[in-house]
């Protein structure tokens, strides 16, 4: 399909951008790279009257770091820019792994960090052309009344599959949300709604502008592991991000966060991992956390070619592997 007709604006300030979004009362959308959005437009899954492009807003494509405040990533930083940043490579290797796990090199060049975090959730019964959609009853996400992924469900179960979200969740990231009057910082986990129809809680006029990541602790390690059929292109059928730091000189866990993607309506933190704080990290502890993660994962047959049972089973395996990698990078014997 060709692109539909829409108006297009390139505001020079956040204030202007937010005002444009509000004036259109829900009929305007942000574009921040467009790798997720343009296909949805071509397929008429979204039909905004106006696209508000953030690319001319100053400083949104900046990366800055200080030992004290940590990392600030502008929402318009491209995934390639993020992966090429010397300071991110040094301090947050997991972010580089996650960025390079997104789509293809071309998509990494165009896609942005903000766009990636705010990407729509996926469902193979919905993400189709208008003509191919006619072949199935309209689903909940399309404004219909059925769910093809979970028959009889009155909730939409579209799958969130972003790669950066779990990595940033595990790194305790916060995000700045701006509108025309104020800016507020919220934990990244609060961005997500757990609603398949609208995976983020952003309201009309709200813009995610900056991502803040605290400085990494000494003796910290991390891992982002992604399950997919091919070595490129594919969305995550499961993504596991683990960050941990250890006490100086012994094997006691000081801080830990584990996040999953690709196995539910939103990326999520596995809270049970925090119980490892102050404890030695042994096989039994890891198995306990893996089991908790396993229980929280709800993969469905709405994306990909692998069975949901397998993807759920892989949660245990990938969490275990992630511990191995993270402990090793934290200077511990895995």
């Amino acid at each position: 399909m060709t692109l539909p007709k829409f108006d297009y604006a390139e505001p020079k300030s956040l204030r202007q951008a937010s005002a444009l979004l509000r004036q259109q009362r829900g009929k305007a959308m942000l574009i921040a790279g467009g790798t997720d959005l343009l296909q949805a437009l071509k397929n008429r899954l979204k039909t905004p009257a106006l696209l508000v492009d953030l690319k001319n807003i100053p400083r949104l494509d900046h990366i800055s770091y200080s030992e004290k405040t940590g990392l600030q990533i502008g929402a318009m930083v491209s995934l390639r820019q993020l992966a090429n940043s010397a300071v991110i490579k040094e301090k947050y290797p997991m972010l580089v792994e996650a960025a390079l796990a997104v789509g293809t090199a071309q998509l990494q060049a165009m896609g942005t960090v903000g766009g990636n975090l705010c990407q729509d959730s996926l469902c193979q019964f919905r993400d189709r052309s208008p003509m191919a959609r006619l072949m199935l009853e309209p689903c909940l996400k399309l404004g219909g009344h059925v769910c093809h992924a979970v028959s009889g469900s009155n909730k939409c179960w579209a799958n969130y599959s972003g790669d950066l979200a779990p990595a940033l969740l595990a790194l305790h990231a916060r995000v700045t949300i701006a509108d025309s009057t104020e800016k507020k910082k919220i934990p990244l986990s609060k961005l997500y709604s757990d609603d398949g129809k609208r995976p983020t809680r952003l309201r009309a006029g709200q813009i995610l502008t900056v991502i803040h990541v605290p400085p990494p602790a000494p003796h910290s390690g991390s891992a982002y592991l992604k399950l997919r059929l091919r070595k490129t292109i594919d969305y995550a059928l499961l993504g596991v991000a683990l960050y941990l730091s250890m006490e100086d000189g012994d094997a006691v866990c000081k801080d830990i966060a584990l996040a999953l993607t690709g196995v539910g309506k939103a990326p999520f933190l596995v809270k049970e991992a925090e119980q490892l704080k102050g404890k030695q990290v042994g096989d039994a502890e890891i198995a306990q956390v893996a089991e908790a993660a396993f229980k929280q994962a709800h993969p469905l047959s709405n994306i990909g070619g692998l069975t949901p049972a397998y993807r759920k089973e892989m949660v245990r395996v990938y969490v275990r592997k992630a511990f191995g990698v993270a402990l090793e990078s934290a200077g511990q014997d895995a």
Binding site: A132, L136, R230, K231, T232, I233, G305, Y310, E313
Partner: protein
Amino acid sequence: MPTEQLDIVGTSSIRVDARDKVMGKAIYIDDIQVPGMLHGKVLRSRYPHARIVRIDTSRAEKLPGVLGVVTGADVPFIHGESLLDEPFLARDKVRYTGEGVAVVAAVDVATAEHALELIRVEYKELPAVFDPVEATEPGAPLIHENVGTYTRAASNIKPIPGTNICNHFQLKTGDVEKGFAESDYIFEDTFTTPMQAHCCIETHGAIALVDDETNITVWANNDSPHRARKEIASAFKVPMTKVRVIIAPYVGGNFGGKGGLKAEAVALAIAWKVRNRPIKIMYTREEEFCSTIGRHPSVVRMKTGVKQDGTFVARAVKIYLATGAYAEKGPTVSTFAGISGAGPYRIPNLSIDSYCVYTNRQLAGAFRGYGGPQTAWAYESQMDIIAHKLGLDPVELRLRQVYVDGDRHANGQILKSEGLRDCLVQVAESMEWNSKPLGKNQGRGVALMERAIKTPFGSAAFVKVNEDGTVDVLSSTTEVGQGSATIVCQIVAEELGVPMASVRKAAPDTAFTPYDASTTSSRSTFHMGNAVKMAAADAKQQLLALASKLLKASPDDLTITQGKVHVKAMPERALPISKVLSENYGASGTVLGRGYYYPEMPEGESNYFSRYMVFWLLGAQGAEVEVNRETGEVKILKIYAAHDAGKAINPMTCLDQIRGGVTLGAGFALSENLMFKGGTVLNPSFLSYPVPSALDAPEIEPMAVEYAHPDGPYGAKGIGETTNVPTPPAIANAIYNAVGIRIKDLPITPDKVLAALKRKDER
């Protein structure tokens, strides 16, 4: 074969299409603009099986920018290569989700897309059937009520009236029941394969123009212009002189998918109604996945009786190929699946039944291997099951059973030029089958393949020598990426004695380039190779005759080297070809050589997809894999691939064919699966359909075995369609060798492997 001194044939001459493609200058169908051209878009069925109650196109017709809308009622014509069963647009009923129902012609694509939304179609759903075995059972919904009365291309296509079976191929030798009774062991297994999509980089496209006097011109990326012309002329009941098919200079991939009428059919439907305007239809990627063709999903039941010592006594094979809503090439695919259904092995008692079955899904047709991948998956997997049970080495068992020259094939033909044993030996040697140690959870496996070749079909060529000594080759073989233009030019340059740079192959155009059956079936190097070789030899003889007076020597004492006619014994007594022509013809002058190759056939053989084969496609592969017991992932360590090329005209192109084919086979083995919900394709995009990326391509050691064929040009045979066929069973056999699990249903995804490992541990 007499040893000839060859200068150009047998060298890896740089591909003649390389420069255009690398520099972005290659012209494809979508680059072609015809003055006054309109754009067409197709409205497609949303049901797998439904009666069309009414279609209201009035609102679409009124949309500014729309020049016309056509529905099936406006084009009461039927086409089909093997069985005339397919309307240009659905009439009365739709038989698959994605079938064309109406076409809009508009000034641009966006207007045409918009107009589609204004068409209202009222359907009444009918019961549908999707599984090929279920579709053969009594009481299954009938997809074509009149299959028994359809016009057939030849009498060897055998539909069963009153069923969904559009071809039943049978091959019996010996007494299979007696054979089973005499066997020490009986093996019975069922193997399945899903639909695989061709995934050409370029989607189907066509521009059709029909004028007031029903002169029909089609520009297309079709693989076979003359076949398309005949199909169009017969369908529209016009003489062939009124139909002209022009192939774009370059076609972006084929693999069998660009044959028949696809975008051509819908473009012709709208052009039939909206006259005197060329109308272009380019398929979207989604249409490519849902509304063209794929590889036949299959169910193969294989029963084999063997003696304790491994001697094969009897084999019964039942093959079910789901051809989708229309026969397309299904009947001939099922014939070829049947002919080689028992594998390339000496088995005295055979019973093969191959059924081509209609289902309410996207069509299946020609796809690299043509029934071979489905049957090789079965017979080569079972070969290892048997070897393991009897405690025999899989290579040793195959070496004992494999056909060699002089054997009688299951089809009755005495085999010659059968290089398959050599292929297996080369594979076993290069992978150090008996000696190389492998690591934990690693394993090795081999598989062979045999495939029939479209026989007997002809190829013609003209070789036109120009005033300046350059040469145009007029041949209807299409360059679809396989390298045929290079092969053709190399043969002409060699035969005529001119440099490669002087030879250029014209793009096919039925108005100018002579008949060729098709660019399919790995037949071009052999058939068109012979035709251009004859045409070049003919041109050469004419040139020598013309030069004879000038050089004061008999033509028999002359030859041509590097574009110069000279006395054989005295290279300095020479004249450039341009001089020979100008001395004879003044300022102008040309020489036209002709060649036509049509294989000699034994008496009584069918002249349409006969059982007798002019040559066989043969190859062997070995796989080394490592299985991750924790995740079920299979890592291909290396594929060893030896394929019988007869003679590699261009060794590099040959090896590249193998590399590409193995990657296609690896995708079929490990990931590719066009998934359906009822009749609806669930993964119609490169994002959701996991065709391997460059990063997923395995390490490959390609080998071209040169087991010369007496009738091939310089001994050459085809190779393209051998290359993907043995890969999946070789991988499956290696997986079994690594971890002891046997997967019988493709693709071998990690979830299946892990589940099988668990089942094995529980036993």
